[in-house]
């Protein structure tokens, strides 16, 4: 019964969606771009692609969009992640009675050593990714995620090696604050939040893109530490 109702409801939805994309509504040649119908309008993407480099000095237009044009979203996005970290801690920390935890067997020496060896490399890779976010694919989030995967590796491979959540807390707070402060400096300097107030530098070099790399670094740190603290919390080592 439940399946039947569900299926019929989904069928209606699917029908609606498919009608919405079918040729009758779409036009024959515009199939590759949903936005074709708005062609006569100045298109965001085109504009960013054509002007982004000169406006922000960052080679990675996506980075430019993420940090500058839609930087406010990113601020929110970071906040969401922050909320997830904090919320997770809230949910898990109010546990009244700790379930009896099966003490995991420590990992074998090979795994342990391998993980310890890989951990700094992974951190380095992550840092590379977010430092070069304005030039190459990737950025703060991706880099941060890579960094966090390092912590995950430590959790998985180096059982018993605790993750210190205080460090995460400090890092995420400070990097988050850095993001906000940078944004506010833009407001103070140019009357607009997240303004790219630093010199743009020469395009396609590391020191280009104004505040974008700096913010990306902050984001990378923040994402890394937040995901790290999520891992720490989920692994049950959190306070």
């Amino acid at each position: 019964m439940r399946r039947l109702i569900s299926l019929s409801l989904l069928l209606i939805v699917a029908l609606g969606i498919s009608l919405c994309f079918s040729g009758a509504y779409f036009g024959a040649e515009g199939a590759n771009r949903a936005g074709k119908l708005a062609q006569d309008r100045v298109n965001f993407g085109q504009r960013y692609n054509s002007r982004g480099l000169e406006e922000n000095g960052a080679g990675n237009i996506v980075a430019s969009v993420v940090v500058n044009y839609r930087g406010f979203d990113t601020l929110g996005e970071v906040t969401v992640l922050f909320i997830a970290a904090v919320g997770l801690a809230v949910v898990l920390s109010t546990r009244r009675e700790k379930p009896a935890r099966v003490r995991a067997e420590p990992a074998s020496l090979v795994v342990f050593t391998g993980c310890r060896f890989l951990f700094p490399l992974i951190l380095l890779l992550g840092s590379y990714i977010f430092i070069h976010g304005h030039l190459t694919p990737g950025g703060g989030f991706q880099g941060g995620a890579v960094v966090a995967s390092g912590f995950l590796l430590v959790y998985l491979g180096c059982r018993g090696k605790g993750l210190r959540s205080a460090g995460f807390t400090v890092t995420e707070s400070l990097s988050g604050l850095a993001f906000v402060v940078l944004a506010l400096v833009g407001l103070a300097v140019g009357g607009s939040l997240l303004l790219n107030f630093l010199p743009k530098g020469s395009a396609l070099t590391l020191f280009s893109g104004g505040v974008i790399p700096i913010i990306y670094v902050a984001i990378g740190l923040k994402v890394g530490s937040e995901l790290g603290s999520i891992i720490a919390n989920l692994s049950g080592e959190a306070p």
Binding site: G16, I17, L19, C20, Y25, R33, A34, G35, L37, A38, R41, N43, F44, G45, R47, Y48, Y69, R70, G71, F72, D73, L75, G76, E77, T79, V80, F82, I83, A84, V86, G87, L88, A89, V90, V91, S93, T94, R95, R96, A166, T169, V170, E172, S173, L174, G176, L177, F179, V180, V181, A183, L184, G186, L187, G190, S192, L193, L194, L195, N196
Partner: protein, 493 residues
Amino acid sequence: MVSPILLIAVPLGLAFITPLLGLARKGAPRYVPAVAMLFNLLVSVSLLPDALRAPIVVRTAGWAPPFSIHLVAGPLGLLLSSLIALIGLLVAVYGMDYIREGATTRYHVLSILILVGATGVVLTGDVFNLFVFFEILCISSYALVAYWGDSASVEAGAKYLIQGAIGSSFVLIGIGLLYGAFGALSMADIAANVSSVSSFRLFVSLAFLITGFGVEAAVFPLNAWLPDAHSSAPSSISAILSGIAIKAGIYAVARVVYTIYGAQSILPFVALLSVATLLIGEMCAFSQNDIKRLLAYSSIGQMGLIVFGLAMASATGVSAALFVVISHALAKALLFLASGYMILRTGSREVSSLNGMGTRMPLTSLCFTVGAFSLVGLPPFVGFASKFMIVRAALETADTFFVVLLAIALIGTVIEGAYFLRIVQGLYFKPAPQQAREETRKEPPLSALVPVGVLAALIVAVGLYPGLVERALGAAANDLLDRDSYVQNVMGD
């Protein structure tokens, strides 16, 4: 002149450093939300007069509106953000002493963020940004609902999360369709071009957006999470959820329907839904035994009233709805806050455990009564003025459809009167349960009495002088209804 963007940035920054403060001094974080919201309140109120003249459009990253995210601090946005800051401030003060167990620092962080989310929702002028702030609001409320960590709150949190996640996926689909159609994300930009796209496609996106945002707005039949979540959350959070969060949801729906789509023709359906919401809410509340659940269902009912007002699509209707938003926020926050300590003292959420509170916690009970009367719509409290405006607006439409719906809606308010006034009777005229503990004979601490008292005073004050908000209401309604000027304000000429 301060920028409205500080309303978001400053509390956000404060939220980010709160954990650090918590590490430094154990007691410090509990003051942060109050500080943040005080700041917001001052800024919003100081900006409001300007916004009434012309909406303040704030660009980010220095680019002109369509090309970057922008905030539109219009009368509506600032009115609501003032309300958010006000309720937030009072709840924050209340939370100082109320929240003693659990991860208190994180509670305070989240309580700022939930308010930031709501503020962002009402101020933003970008549809995707709306989604982001919406998620900030939702996700922090998922976590806060589960704050107590008992089975009910965790269950409520999980269910809320599932429904909310579905909702946000829908929103995202809607936004994707919109972007596909217009290649734009600025609401004004989209609004300016809505007529250029075939309507069915748009309608599908509209349906997704309405459904998605509607989940948070607690419109029937999307409101199943609400009673669970509102009743299981800490009372301070219930106050925020009921007073603010669902209002943010309804704001989002209204923005989408009015400003982006200008879809007046679906409003009769919305009106039907609203009346259904109202009736369902009131009917469910009627036989509730759990005071917080009762209040939660009553919130659903009031949401129905708000949506009903909005669905009239007339200036009076919308301003009436906004007035209900205000009156309900004040009254419901008051009720949740007042009942919070009653529940804490008696250790029971049964309605009957409130019996005899009139003598044991006289001030709290008095304020509770004021709130209840206001919700029922009795003068001289603000609920009356708002109900009055709703009825007036409905009758001014001179549309039989709305008059009939109004009659049904009024039945809902009668039911509401029945259960609220029964509680009030219990407060004053029923003997306290035999096993009432001795410590129940104590007023809550000052940090709780002050917000409750302030809310009660506001209810009376605005009830007596609706002129305090009336002008802003009119402008806000215009803000919502007048698409052309909205577009013009944002996009320049």
